[in-house]
Symmetry: C2
Subunit: 443 residues, 2 copies
C-alpha cells in the first residue's frame, strides 16, 4: 500500500532561499516561468518569474550545456546553475545557467509586454487578457496587497475574540429590501442573491457575541462608475455588548492600525512595487454628517443641494478638507439621516432624524458603512411597521430579537475599494481580479 | 474635533481573564447573556453565557443589591460582583453578585431549552430556530471548530507560499458545464452561479504559482441526501510546478496535519464539548480506484455494479476497509475513470482511460476531489473537441494556456462535510450555519 505523509522539502529553491546569501558558488536548482530573454551577443539574460519575484539567470555560450533556442518566453522551466553575487542583479544574486529542463512551452508569443515595468495598456485590454496582464509584476503586486488586507482583517478580529461565519448567498429575502437585487429561480421558487450578510451576522451576535465574514456580496445597481461593482468582496463584522457606536469605529480603527503594520512588515516589497504610501491611522477624525456638509460648503463655496445625502463630489471635498486641516487620510462621517439608512439602523435618541451610524471615507471615497443596530424587539417591529415594511420572510430574524439580543452594531468594508485607495488607483476594476459590472460578465 | 484612536481595553472582563486565577476576592465587572437561572431558595445560580463559555454567578438575598425578579433568562446584562474560588463551578470560579445592569430584555420566554447539554430537538426544529438553537453550548461549538478548519487551511497555505484570491461567483459560463447550475438574469444577459472557482484558480496559477480561495459555491443538484447542499463553502487550492499529482495529495495531508494540531492546541474546549476525536493524519493510504473496488468487493462480498463510478455505499465500505486493515481515518482513492472527470483533468499517460486524479474519503465519505490538470494548450483544445464541447466562453481560459502554463493541479474540500465527519454528525446540515437544500431557502 502507498501512503502519503505530507509535504516534503522541494529539491528546487524558492527565491527567498536563493537570496538569503548562504549559497553563493553553489550549484542549485530552481523553477519558474521565463519572464523575458534579453540577448546580448554571446550572453543572454533569462529572467525567471517566481511567486516571490524575479531571478536573473545568465546564459553564456560554452558554459551552458543547452541551446538557448530551446527557451521561449512564457515557458515553464526547471533550471540548474551556479549562484553568483552580482550587485547589478535584482537581489544582488544571479544564476549562471548550466542546464534547463522544459516543463511546458507556450503555443504563441505573449500578446502583452508583461516584462515592462508598467504595462502601459488600457484597463479594458488588461481585463480582456486578465490572466496574462497579471503576470506583470506590478499588476500582480496589487492583489498580493489585497491578500494582506484580508489577512489583517481576519487576524486582528480573531485576536479580538470574533468568530468567523459563513452565511448563505442565496436567499428568499434580502437585508436591505429594495430593487437592486439579482433574482434567480431556486427549484421553482423565487430567490435573490444577498446584498450583504447583514441579517445573518446580527442573528449570530446572539450566539458568538462577535462575528465576521469575508465573502462576496451582490448588488444589481445600474451604476457604471469608477467605484461601483455588481459583485464585490465585503469584509463584514458585527459585535455585541457595545457601549456606543464609537466602539465600532474604534474596532475599525484598530483593524486599520493592525493591517497597515502587517503590510509594512510582510508586504513591504509589494508596497514598494505599487508605490503605495501607508495611510495614517493613529487617530481618525469623526465629524457629524450635517457638520461635514457645512464645513465643505463654507471652505469650498459649494452649495448644499441635498441635506440628506452626500454626493460623491461632496465626499471628495470632505476628504480634502480633513487632509488639509488635519493631515488625515481617513475621516468618519457620523449620524447619517435616518431616512437614508435601513430599517435596522438605530436612531439617535437625542434626535431621531439621525442615526447612530457612520461611513468611513478614505481619501474622499466611502469604503465602509456601519453603525449601531436596533436590539429591542418591539422597537424593531415598530420601525418596520412605520416604514410600511412586511415582516414576511423576516420571522427568524425578528424572533432572534424577541428572545433577547445585546446592544450591538457592525460594519461592512468594500475590499476592492480599500485596495484601490491604498494603491492610489482611480478605478476599482484595477483592484478587482475579475470585475463584474454592467458590461462585464466574462470570463 | 473628535478622534477615534483604536480599541481600548474594556472595563468588563472576558471569561479567560476571570478564570486565570489572579482576581480571587476582587470585585469585577462582566457582561453576558443570562443563559439560565436556577432557584435554590434564598440563593440562585445565574449562569452567564459569554463567547468563551459559561460563568456561574451566585445571587444571595441580602448580599446582592438588586431584586432577582429583575433578571430574565435571555436578558443581556452587565454584572458586578466578587470572584470566589468554587471547585464545583465550571472553571473553578464563581461570581458573587452585587449589582446588575440590564442591557436588554427579551420579549418572550425562550422556545428551546438551550441550557440543556444536548438540545434533544429535531434537526428540523433546530434549523427553524437556528439563531436560538445555536445559543446551546454544544451546537455553537460545532461552528467554532469549523472556524478552526478554515483558519488551518489558510494559515498552512500562506506558510506554503500560496496567495489568497477572490473570484467572481456570477459568470456567463461555468467550469464543469452540465445542467446543475443556478441561472439568473444579469442585466438582461443569461448568467450562472459558479459551481467552483476551477477555471479562475487555474488561470491564477500562471500568475501566483500557488493560489487558494475559501468561498461559497453553488450546485443546483436535485439530491436530497444527508450529505448534499445546494450552496456550500469550498476550500480550494491550485498549485503549479508539481512533479506529479501526489504533490497535491501531499499538500492536502500537510493541511490536515497542520489543522488537527491547530485544533488540538486552540480548540481543545470545543473538541471536548463536541466529543470529537482527532483523526490520524501521519500517513494516509492511497489506493487506485479500480483496486479499491476490488478490495471491498472481495472482503465484503459486494458485486461491482458500475466499474466507472463509486456509489456512496461503496465509499463507505472503502472507508471501513482501510479503517479495519490499516487503522486509517482517511484514504485517497486515485486514478478515477476519465469519462467521469471533467475536461480539464489530465489523463494518465500510462492508461488514458484513467486520470491523474483523486478523491479523499474521511470515514467513508468523499470530502475532496482533486487532481492534476492539463497544462498544454493543444492537449486541452483537443480534449474539448473530443468531448464535443464548445470553446465559446472559454476564450480567456484557453488563452491562459496558449501563452504558457506550468504543470499544475489542485483540489476542492467541502468545509461542511469535513466538519461533519470531524464531529461525527450524520447530516451535513448539522454543520451548516444556514443550509440551502431542495426545501430550505430561508431564512
Amino acid at each position: 500500500m502507498d501512503f502519503i505523509s505530507g509535504v516534503k522539502k522541494a529539491e528546487t529553491l524558492e527565491l527567498s532561499e536563493i537570496l538569503d546569501g548562504t549559497r553563493t558558488g553553489q550549484r542549485v536548482r530552481v523553477n519558474g516561468a521565463v519572464h523575458t530573454i534579453r540577448h546580448m551577443g554571446d550572453v543572454a539574460f533569462v529572467i525567471l518569474r517566481k511567486r516571490e519575484g524575479l531571478l536573473q539567470c545568465v546564459y553564456e555560450e560554452g558554459a551552458a550545456e543547452f541551446d538557448l533556442k530551446k527557451l521561449k518566453e512564457a515557458a515553464a522551466v526547471e533550471a540548474e546553475g551556479v549562484l553568483q553575487d552580482e550587485e547589478r542583479a535584482p537581489g544582488g544574486v544571479e544564476l549562471r545557467l548550466k542546464t534547463v529542463r522544459i516543463l511546458s512551452l507556450p503555443d504563441a508569443p505573449l500578446p502583452l509586454p508583461i516584462a515592462k515595468w508598467k504595462l502601459g495598456t488600457s484597463l479594458e485590454a488588461k481585463l480582456n487578457m486578465r490572466s496574462i496582464a497579471l503576470r506583470n509584476i506590478r499588476e500582480r503586486a496589487k492583489f498580493k496587497l489585497q491578500e494582506g488586507i484580508v489577512r489583517g482583517f481576519r487576524d486582528f478580529l480573531y485576536a479580538q475574540g470574533f468568530t468567523e461565519i459563513h452565511t448563505p448567498k442565496i436567499g428568499a429575502k434580502s437585508a436591505e429590501g429594495g430593487s437592486n437585487m439579482f433574482r434567480l429561480d431556486y427549484f421553482h421558487r423565487p430567490a435573490v442573491l444577498q446584498q450583504s450578510p447583514q441579517l445573518y451576522k446580527q442573528m449570530m451576535v446572539g450566539v458568538f457575541d462577535r462575528v465576521f465574514e469575508t465573502a462576496p456580496v451582490f448588488r444589481a445597481e445600474k451604476h457604471n462608475t469608477r467605484r461601483h461593482l455588481n459583485e464585490y468582496t465585503s469584509l463584514d463584522l458585527e459585535m455585541g455588548y457595545i457601549e456606543s457606536f464609537e466602539d465600532i469605529m474604534a474596532m475599525e480603527t484598530g483593524f486599520l492600525q493592525y493591517t497597515m503594520e502587517l503590510l509594512a512588515r510582510e508586504y513591504a516589497k509589494e508596497l514598494d512595487i505599487c508605490g503605495a504610501v501607508l495611510p495614517k491611522t493613529e487617530q481618525i477624525p469623526a465629524v457629524r454628517f450635517d457638520r461635514a456638509k457645512e464645513l465643505v460648503s463654507e471652505k469650498y463655496g459649494r452649495n448644499i443641494r441635498n441635506p440628506f445625502d452626500l454626493e460623491p463630489e461632496e465626499e471628495g471635498l470632505i476628504g480634502r478638507y480633513f487632509q488639509e486641516e488635519y493631515g488625515a487620510d481617513f475621516v468618519f462621517v457620523t449620524h447619517y439621516p435616518s431616512k437614508k439608512r435601513p430599517f435596522y439602523a438605530m436612531d439617535d435618541p437625542q434626535d431621531p432624524r439621525y442615526t447612530l451610524s457612520f461611513d468611513l471615507l478614505y481619501h474622499g471615497l466611502e469604503i465602509t458603512t456601519g453603525g449601531q443596530r436596533i436590539h429591542d424587539y418591539r422597537t424593531l417591529a415598530q420601525k418596520l411597521a412605520a416604514r410600511g415594511m412586511s415582516e414576511e420572510g423576516l420571522e427568524q430574524y425578528l424572533d432572534t430579537f424577541r428572545y433577547g439580543m445585546p446592544p450591538h452594531g457592525g460594519l461592512g468594508i468594500g475590499l476592492e475599494r480599500l485596495t484601490m485607495q491604498l494603491i492610489g488607483e482611480d478605478n476599482v476594476r484595477e483592484t478587482t481580479l475579475y470585475p463584474r459590472d454592467l458590461s462585464r460578465l466574462e470570463p
